[in-house]
Amino acid sequence: MDVVNQLQRQFLDYSASLHREGFLDDQFTQLQKLQDENSPDFVVEVASLFFEDCEKLINNMARALEQQGVDFKQVDASVHQLKGSSSSIGAMRVKNVCIAFRSFCEAQNREGCLRCLQQVTHEYSLLKNKLQTLFRLEQQILAAGGSVPAIE
C-alpha cells in the first residue's frame, strides 16, 4: 500500500509540475475527467492520436518549408490543425508556439517559420516524453493495485 501511496503522490506532483511549467493546462484535466470505466484508456488514446497527428503535421510543414517557393497557405493550414489539436489536448506550450508560428506564416517570414518549426518540434518531443512518463506512472499505479488519483 505504501508503494501505491508513494506512486500516487509522485503522479500528482508530476502532473502538477506539468501544469506549473505550462506544458499542460485545464483542458488536459478536463480530458482526464472524461475518462471513466467505459473508456479507461481515453487520455492515452487521445494523446497518441495527438502525437501521430503532430508528427504528420510537423513533417508536412518541414517539407513545405524546405521547398524553394514556400507555400505559406499550406503551412498555415497545418499550423492551424496543430493548434486545434494541441488546444484540444491542453498542450499549452505547443499551442502558444503555434500562435507565434501562424503570425510568421501570415507575414510570410520563412526564417521565423523555420525557427518556430524547430520550437514546435522541440516542445512536441518534450511533451511526448513528459506525457509518456506520466502514463508510465499511471500504469505503475494500476499495476500496484491502486487507482489513479483524480486531479483537481
Binding site: Q30, L31, Q35, N38, V46, L49, Q81, G84, S87, S88
Partner: protein, 1002 residues
C-alpha cells in the same frame, strides 16, 4: 470580438458626428459673411454720410431757390412801384404842358405869367412828389432873341450864368416853380444833356429823360424830364418836322431819383434786408448809377434785375436788388442732415451689434452641439468601455476563482483556509459586481436582448427560493412563494432575466430583513372579484377573524405575523386571490378558453419583506444606480446599490413597471408587473407533460390537512401541495384537524380520510402539546380511522431539542424545513410514504446529470477534420451518454446525413478544408427543405411522427466572435459551442436547444 466591434462602432460614431456637422454647417447669411461685417458697417456709414450730405445740399438748394424767389418778387414789386410813381409824375407834367399850351399860347394875351405858374405848380406839387420842381422854357429862335429879351427885360444866359452866345435857337426858362426859381432866364439848350433832351422831346412829342447827374440844388442824383409844348394842335400823325415846327417850348422837371427811391423803399417791408440799385443802362457798356452806391458789399452771389420803363423809349433803366447779407447758413438743413446721419449711424451700429451677437450665439450654439455630440459619444464609449472591460475582467476572475476553489481542496492550515475562503468570497462578490455592471452597461448601450422561450415560472421561483433558503433559515426568516393558479404553467419570456429580477429583489429582502418573513407572490394583474365572496370563502375555511389575535400581542395577517409595509398586500387582498382562483376552478371551460385566447398575460409580482425598510428621504433615489439608502447601509449590509437600478431596467425592458412601498422599521414591498406571452395550446400541453415529469405524479389524489393558524402561510403550503396534485384542506388549529379526521362532515367540511397531516411548528407549539397524535391514536383505537395519517412538521428552523420533542409527540415521520418547494416537498413525502427511489427533481441544479439526461441516448454526429479534436469531442459527449458518430469532413457528414437519418444533433467544426462548416450546413439545410417540401406535397396522408426535418446543428468554434455567431445563424445553424468543450457551455447550448425542440417541432 472587441476590437472589430469597437472599430465599426467608432466608425459609426464618426459618421454620425460628421452627419451632424454637415447639417449644422448650413450657415445663415450672417454667419457666412462674418468677415465682411465691419466692412458692411463702414460701407453703411459712408452711404449714410453721403445721403445726409445730399439731404443737406437739397435742403440748402431749396432754401436758395426760395431766397431767390423772394428777392425777385421783392425786386419786381419795387420796380413796379417806382415805375408807377414815376409815370404818375410824368402824367402830371404832361398835364402841365397841356395847361401851359392852353393858357399861354391859345389865349392872347397869355393867361399865365410867372406868378400864376409858380402859384399853380406850388399848389399842385403834392401831385408830383418825385419832382423837385418844374419849369417852362420857351423856344426862342435867334431872330426873335432881341424881341424876346426886350419883352422880358433880361438876356438869355447860359447854364453858367453868362450871357448866352449866339445860337440858332434858345430855350430860356420863363416860368419856374419856386423851388427851382434859380434857373429862370437860363438857356436850357446850353447844357449838353438838356439840349439833347429838348431835341429828342420835340421830335418825339413824348417825355424824355436825361441820364442821371447830380442835381444842382441837392447833391442827389437825379434826371431831368423834358416835355415839349406845342403851339398849335398837331395833325393826327405828325411828322418829326411838323412837331419841330409846332414846338412852342419845353416843360422840364428834375426827378430826384435818390430820394424818390428812398421814399419808396421806406414804405415797403423788408427794406432792411435788400439792397436796391437803379441803373441807367442806355449805354450798355457803361451803366450809370441812379440810386445806391456803386461799390456796395452785400451778397454778391445773388442778385435780381428788374427792368424799369419810365416812358422814354430811348433810355433804358433797370433795378438790381441783392440781399444785404450773405445767405445765412441753413441750420435746419444742417441739423436735419446731422440728425439723420446720427440716427443712421446708430441704426447701423445696432444692426452690426445684432449681427455680431447672432454670429456669437451661433458660434456658441455650434460649439455646444459639438460638445453635446462629443458628450454623447463619450457616454456611449463609457458604456462600451464598461462592457468590454467587465467582460475582460471576468475571464481572469474566473481563473482566480477556479484556482481558489482548487486551493481550498488541498491540504491547508486553518489560517490559510480562512484566507483562501475570504479571497474566494471577495472574488465572488467582485464577479457579481462585474456582472451587474456589465448588465447595466449592456442595458444602457441597448444591447441587452430578451429571449422569448417558454419557461416554467414556478420552478424558477422555486430555484430562487432554494438559493436563499440557507440564508433565510440561518436568520430564522419565513421565506415563501405563492403563485396564483391563474398564472399559466408555461409562459413565453426570458427566464434568465426574470430569475435575475426575482433574485435581486429577494436577495435585497434577505439582506435587509432580520426577522419576520419574505413573501413572493405572483398573480395575474386584473381586477379582483368582489369582496363578499371572498369573505364567505374564508369563513368556510375556519374563520380568519380569530387568527388576528393569537399570542396576545398584536398580530398581523401576514405570512409571519409581522406587520408588512403594504397593507394592501396583506390577507385582505390575498383572500381575493385565493377566492378568485376558487371561482375560476368552478368556472366553465369557456372562461379558460377566453383567458387563453389572449396572446399575452400580465403578471403582478410582489416581494414583501419585514426588514428595516427604506428611509423616507432615500425612497426617491432607490432606483438610481450606485445609490443606497445612506452610506451606513453599505457599511452594514454591503452591496453597491446597482441591483435595483438593473432590476428596474429589466422590468421596463419586459414591458412592466416597478414600484415599492416601504415603511422604515416595518418593511418594504416591491411590486412589479411584467408581460409574458402565453404558450400556444399545443405546446402547452406538450410541455405540461414534460413538466409533470419534473414533479412526481405519485401524490395525485392524496389528501392532506394543513394545520396552520396563519391563513397566508397555510395558503402557501396548500399551493405547493396542490402543485403535486394533492387535495388540501386547511385547518386553523390542531383541534379542528383532529375532528376533521375523526368525524365525517365536520366543520371544515372534509369528508375524506387524510393521508397526510402537515402541522406548522407554531401551531403545534401553541396548541396542546401532543394532543393531536394522542387523539389520533384514540381515534384509531375507536375504529374511526383505519390508517393513521402521516404526521409531518413544517418548520423554518428547529432546534435539536425541539426535534426530539416533536418526535416524541408523534411527528416521527419527518420534518420539512422551509422554505417550501414543490420538488423538496415531493422528496420528503416520497421518503415518508415510502415510494422510494431518488427523484429526478433533485438533480435539477446539477448541470452534468441534467446534461446526461438531456443527451442520454441521443445520436450525435461530430464533424471535425482534426482527429484529436474529434476524439475529444466524442469523448466528452459520450460521457453524457450520447451515442456519437464522427465524420472527418463536410462531405463525409453530408453522406451520413442523407435523409432519412436518425441523428438528433450535429456538432460541426467551422474551419475545415474542402468544405467548411458553413457550406456543409447550407447543404444539409437544402436537403432538408427539399424533403420537407416533398412531405408537404402529401400532407393529406396525415401527419407523421416528424412533420419537418430540422437537424439541430451546433457550430464548434474556438473564437467566439459575435460576427461568427451571426454567420452561424445565417447559414442555418442553431447555436455554437466554444471549442475546448466546457461542461457548462455545452450544457447551455444543448439545453437551450433540446428544451425548445418541442416548440420548434410544433
Amino acid at each position: 470580438m472587441g476590437p472589430k466591434l469597437k472599430q465599426s462602432y467608432h466608425h459609426s460614431v464618426t459618421v454620425k458626428v460628421n452627419e451632424q456637422m454637415g447639417t449644422k454647417r448650413g450657415y445663415t447669411f450672417i454667419q457666412a459673411n462674418r468677415a465682411w461685417l465691419p466692412k458692411f458697417l463702414l460701407l453703411w456709414v459712408m452711404v449714410m454720410a453721403f445721403l445726409s450730405t445730399w439731404i443737406y445740399k437739397k435742403m440748402d438748394a431749396d432754401n436758395k431757390v426760395r431766397r431767390k424767389e423772394v428777392l425777385s418778387s421783392m425786386c419786381d414789386q419795387r420796380a413796379r412801384m417806382l415805375q408807377d410813381q414815376f409815370s404818375v409824375s410824368v402824367n402830371h407834367v404832361h398835364a402841365l404842358a397841356i395847361l401851359v399850351s392852353t393858357f399861354h399860347y391859345y389865349k392872347d394875351p397869355s393867361a399865365i405869367d410867372q406868378e400864376t405858374f409858380a402859384e399853380y405848380t406850388a399848389r399842385t406839387a403834392f401831385e408830383r412828389p418825385l419832382l423837385s420842381g418844374v419849369a417852362y422854357a420857351e423856344r426862342v429862335k435867334h431872330s426873335e432873341r432881341e424881341k424876346f429879351e426886350r419883352q422880358h427885360g433880361w438876356t438869355i444866359k447860359t447854364m453858367k450864368r453868362e450871357p448866352s452866345p449866339i445860337r440858332d435857337e434858345y430855350a430860356p426858362v420863363i416860368f419856374s416853380q419856386e423851388t427851382v426859381s434859380y434857373i429862370e432866364s437860363l438857356d436850357m439848350m446850353s447844357g449838353e444833356e438838356d439840349r439833347e433832351n429838348i431835341l429828342r422831346a420835340r421830335a418825339t412829342g413824348k417825355a424824355v429823360l436825361t441820364s442821371p447827374f447830380r442835381l444842382l440844388g441837392s447833391h442827389h442824383l437825379g434826371v431831368v424830364l423834358t416835355f415839349p409844348v406845342y403851339k398849335s394842335k398837331l395833325p393826327p400823325k405828325p411828322s418829326v418836322e411838323e412837331r419841330i415846327e409846332a414846338t412852342a417850348g419845353y416843360l422840364g422837371g428834375a426827378f430826384d431819383v435818390e430820394s424818390l427811391v428812398e421814399n419808396l423803399l421806406g414804405q415797403l417791408a423788408g427794406n432792411q434786408a435788400i439792397l436796391v440799385n437803379v441803373y441807367d443802362i442806355t449805354n450798355s457798356s457803361d451803366h450809370l448809377i441812379m440810386y445806391g452806391h456803386q461799390n456796395q458789399d452785400g451778397d454778391l452771389a445773388l442778385l435780381h434785375e428788374s427792368k424799369l420803363d419810365f416812358g422814354d423809349p430811348f433810355r433804358k433803366h433797370q433795378m438790381i436788388c441783392r440781399y444785404h447779407q450773405k445767405a445765412p447758413t441753413s441750420w435746419t438743413a444742417l441739423t436735419t442732415a446731422f440728425l439723420f446721419f446720427v440716427i443712421c449711424l446708430l441704426v447701423g451700429y445696432i444692426l452690426y451689434g445684432a449681427a455680431i451677437h447672432i454670429v456669437k450665439v451661433e458660434d456658441d450654439f455650434h460649439e455646444m452641439q459639438e460638445l453635446m455630440v462629443r458628450a454623447e459619444a463619450a457616454d456611449v464609449a463609457k458604456s462600451q468601455f464598461l462592457a468590454t472591460v467587465s467582460h475582460e475582467i471576468r475571464t481572469p476572475m474566473n481563473g482566480i476563482l477556479g484556482m481558489l476553489a482548487l486551493l481550498l481542496d488541498t491540504d491547508l492550515s486553518s489560517t490559510q483556509r480562512d484566507y483562501a475562503q475570504t479571497a474566494q468570497v471577495c472574488g465572488k462578490a467582485l464577479i457579481t459586481l462585474i456582472n451587474e455592471v456589465l448588465d447595466r452597461a449592456k442595458i444602457e448601450a441597448g444591447k441587452l436582448e430578451l429571449e422569448t422561450v417558454p419557461f416554467d415560472l414556478r420552478s424558477i421561483l422555486d430555484d430562487v427560493l432554494s438559493l436563499f433558503s440557507e440564508k433565510s433559515r440561518n436568520k430564522g426568516l419565513e421565506l415563501a412563494v405563492f403563485v396564483s393558479d391563474k398564472v399559466p404553467e408555461m409562459v413565453m419570456g426570458d427566464p434568465g432575466r426574470f430569475r435575475q429580477i426575482i433574485t435581486n429583489l429577494v436577495g435585497n429582502s434577505v439582506k435587509f430583513t432580520e426577522r419576520g418573513h419574505i413573501f413572493v407572490k405572483v398573480h395575474v394583474a386584473e381586477n379582483p372579484k368582489p369582496k363578499d365572496d371572498a369573505k364567505a370563502e374564508i369563513r368556510l375555511n375556519g374563520g380568519s377573524d380569530e387568527g388576528a389575535l393569537i399570542s396576545g400581542s398584536r398580530q398581523f395577517n401576514t405570512l409571519s405575523g409581522y406587520e408588512a409595509a403594504d397593507e394592501r398586500n396583506s390577507w385582505d387582498s390575498f383572500q381575493h386571490l385565493v377566492t378568485a382562483e376558487a371561482l375560476r376552478n368552478d368556472a366553465s371551460e369557456k372562461m379558460t378558453v377566453a383567458g387563453e385566447a389572449s396572446r399575452s398575460v400580465t403578471l403582478m409580482v410582489s416581494v414583501e419583506d419585514t426588514g428595516i425598510g427604506i428611509p423616507l428621504i432615500a425612497q426617491d433615489r432607490v432606483f438610481t444606480p450606485f445609490m443606497q439608502a445612506d452610506s451606513s447601509t453599505s457599511r452594514n449590509y454591503g452591496g453597491t446599490g446597482i441591483g435595483l437600478s438593473i432590476t428596474k431596467c429589466l422590468v421596463e425592458l419586459m414591458g412592466g413597471h416597478i414600484s415599492f412601498i416601504s415603511r422604515p422599521q416595518v418593511g418594504s414591498t416591491f411590486s412589479f408587473t411584467t408581460v409574458f406571452g402565453r404558450c400556444k395550446k399545443a405546446s402547452h400541453s406538450d410541455t405540461k407533460k414534460s413538466n409533470a415529469e419534473d414533479l412526481p405524479s405519485g401524490f395525485r389524489g392524496l389528501k392532506a390537512i394543513v394545520v396552520d393558524g396563519k391563513p397566508v402561510r397555510a395558503a402557501v403550503t396548500r399551493y405547493h401541495l396542490k402543485r403535486l396534485g394533492m387535495l388540501v384542506e386547511v385547518a386553523n388549529n390542531v383541534k379542528i384537524a383532529a375532528s376533521a379526521c375523526g368525524k365525517n362532515g365536520s366543520s371544515c367540511g372534509s369528508k375524506i380520510q387524510p393521508d397526510i397531516v402537515l402541522v406548522e411548528k407554531d401551531s403545534w407549539l401553541s396548541g396542546e402539546d401532543g394532543c393531536l397524535s394522542l387523539r389520533m391514536l384514540d381515534l384509531k383505537q375507536n375504529g374511526h380511522v383505519f390508517k393513521l395519517p402521516k404526521m409531518i412538521l413544517l418548520a423554518t428552523n428547529i432546534t435539536n431539542a425541539e426535534l426530539e420533542k416533536a418526535k416524541a409527540a408523534g411527528f416521527a415521520d419527518t420534518t420539512i424545513m422551509k422554505p417550501l418547494r414543490a420538488s423538496m416537498v415531493a422528496a420528503c413525502l416520497q421518503q415518508v410514504l415510502g415510494t422510494g427511489k431518488s427523484l429526478p427533481g433533485k438533480g435539477i441544479l446539477n448541470g452534468s446529470s441534467v446534461l446526461g439526461s438531456l443527451l442520454c441516448g441521443k445520436r450525435i454526429l461530430v464533424v471535425d477534420d482534426n482527429m484529436v479534436n474529434r476524439r475529444v469531442a466524442a469523448g466528452a459527449l459520450k460521457k453524457f451518454g450520447a451515442a456519437v458518430e464522427c465524420a472527418e469532413s463536410g462531405k463525409a457528414a453530408l453522406k451520413l446525413l442523407q435523409l432519412p437519418h436518425s441523428f438528433d444533433a450535429c456538432f460541426m467544426d467551422i474551419q475545415m478544408p474542402e468544405m467548411d462548416g458553413f457550406e456543409a450546413t447550407r447543404r444539409i439545410r437544402m436537403l432538408e427543405s427539399q424533403a420537407n417540401e416533398q412531405m408537404n406535397g402529401d400532407t393529406n396522408k396525415g401527419s407523421g411522427k416528424k412533420d419537418k426535418w430540422h437537424l439541430p446543428i451546433l457550430a464548434m468554434t474556438a473564437d467566439v466572435i459575435l460576427a461568427t455567431y451571426d454567420e452561424c445563424l445565417k447559414c442555418g445553424m442553431d447555436g455554437y459551442v466554444s471549442k475546448p468543450f466546457e461542461e457548462e457551455n455545452l450544457y447551455q447550448a444543448v439545453a437551450k436547444f433540446f428544451k425548445t425542440k418541442p416548440i420548434s417541432d410544433s
